[in-house]
């Protein structure tokens, strides 16, 4: 627990409305543990949202910092009217910043004056997990048939539609679609198998410790 703590246990926030309300109230009261729990809970989800919306990892990373800072500052000021709607509030900030970015608005939110005592916004544990996931995905991709890998790349990296991919690869669009789904499932199954094994190993190691 930090110095400013309400004594709540934030290790397993369940995300329910009651939990969100408690978390919002605690952050407003200056509970640093609650702030850390807030970051741990929302940072990875916001990163996923921003990455999907921008399809640009660097931009997503920049916007992520802005969203988190604005959310924490607003919560500290007690600006959340309905504490049980914390998730909707955070998502709203993310969407507003995204819209502002895409409209190339010059206006910056008032709360972006950086406070000194922000919680760590670069979660090392989460980065390690991401790297493990990506390494497993890389391994699974290497074992795909070349045509499936090409279809996935054209779809997810180049942003091409199945019709265009079909033309380029001289396949039917429905074949492209089916192969894409099947290849995706293969990779996900592999990554999941890997992460479950890895989670078990971590658990066993921790228990031994």
């Amino acid at each position: 627990m930090g110095d400013d703590s309400t004594g709540e246990d934030w290790t397993l926030p369940d995300g329910s409305e009651g939990d969100q309300a408690r978390m919002a109230a605690a952050v407003a009261q200056g509970d640093r543990d609650a702030e850390r729990a807030f970051v741990e809970r929302y940072l990875p989800r916001l990163r996923a949202l921003l990455l999907a919306r921008t399809r640009n990892a660097d931009l997503a990373s920049d916007l992520l910092q802005d969203v988190m800072i604005e959310a924490i500052c607003a919560l500290r000021r007690g600006q959340l009217r309905e504490p049980s709607k914390l998730t909707a509030f955070v998502m709203g900030i993310a969407r507003n910043l995204l819209n502002s970015h895409f409209r190339a608005a010059t206006r910056q939110p008032d709360s972006l004056e950086l406070p000194d005592d922000l919680p760590d916004l670069s979660s090392a544990a989460s980065k390690l997990e991401d790297e493990e996931r990506e390494s497993a995905a890389m391994h699974a991709i290497a074992n795909l048939e070349t045509i499936d890998r090409t279809i996935l790349q054209m779809t997810l990296v180049d942003g091409l539609k199945p019709g265009v991919i079909a033309q380029k690869l001289m396949l039917k669009p429905e074949v492209v679609r089916q192969r894409k789904l099947r290849a995706t499932r293969k990779i996900i199954d592999f990554v999941r198998g890997r992460s479950q094994t890895s989670a078990t190993i971590h658990l066993v190691t921790r228990q031994k410790e």
Partner: protein
Amino acid sequence: MKSCTGTPAELCGLPYIEGTLPEHQVELFEAHFFECPVCFAYLQDLQAMQSALSRFPAEKGDAPARRRLSILPARTWALGAAAAILLFAAVFSFRALNLGPQRAPVAQSTPPSTSPANPATSAHGASSASIRPSQLADLALPPFVAPNLRGAQEDAQFESGMKDYAKSDCRDAVAELAKVPAQSEDSRAARFYCAACEMRLGNLAEAASQMRTVAAAGDSPQQESALYYEAQIALANDDPAAAHHYLVQTIALQGDLEQKARDEDRKVHEFLGEQSIENPDKPESVAR
């Protein structure tokens, strides 16, 4: 959200990261995965895949193989080619001299069961003599998993029909699903599950007609299954030629059912003569 099995992410995750999910569904999906750890984990896996793909260009993956081939000296290629030609000539002349006269009777008669040239075919051949194509037919209701996105605009009739479907109450499901308007997003799925119910109820002609409509409508999540079930209906009608025709189309889609269709098609071949296997034209029974 603890009861979620991850279906929303399985259905919406890929289009979400591709940027092809409609905006109203994007917001619903985002609201869902913020609360659902199962779907969020699935999305993270998808994004890891996307990130890994961007670092793994296909050309780079292929390049080493090409390089390995190209570093072999030209003389090695020439020697290899000459060896292959000699080997081919030797095998051909050996067969022409020694096996030639024995081939004709073998080709004209059925191989003796004690020494099958192809054990797998022979085993199936024995079984196909005792079973009918209809016994191969898989007429079980295809599974349906509801996306269950909170606030999703699902057609009321479709929802009600699929509740009946989930209870295997095919008559009520057909009645409800038939009411789904043609312009609804769920209309193709409604027609597919309606066809599955008709199939289950034994109305095979109606089921086949609806499956055909779904398959002919082109790319959709139900297209592959519709072709597969058309094949099953053909089998149930003891029409292996039509079943083969639809199984070939299912295989051609290279989707989830490809292996299943291949395995089944191998069995169906036992009911067909060599000619129809080599020439998989549309059989007369397949009316379009």
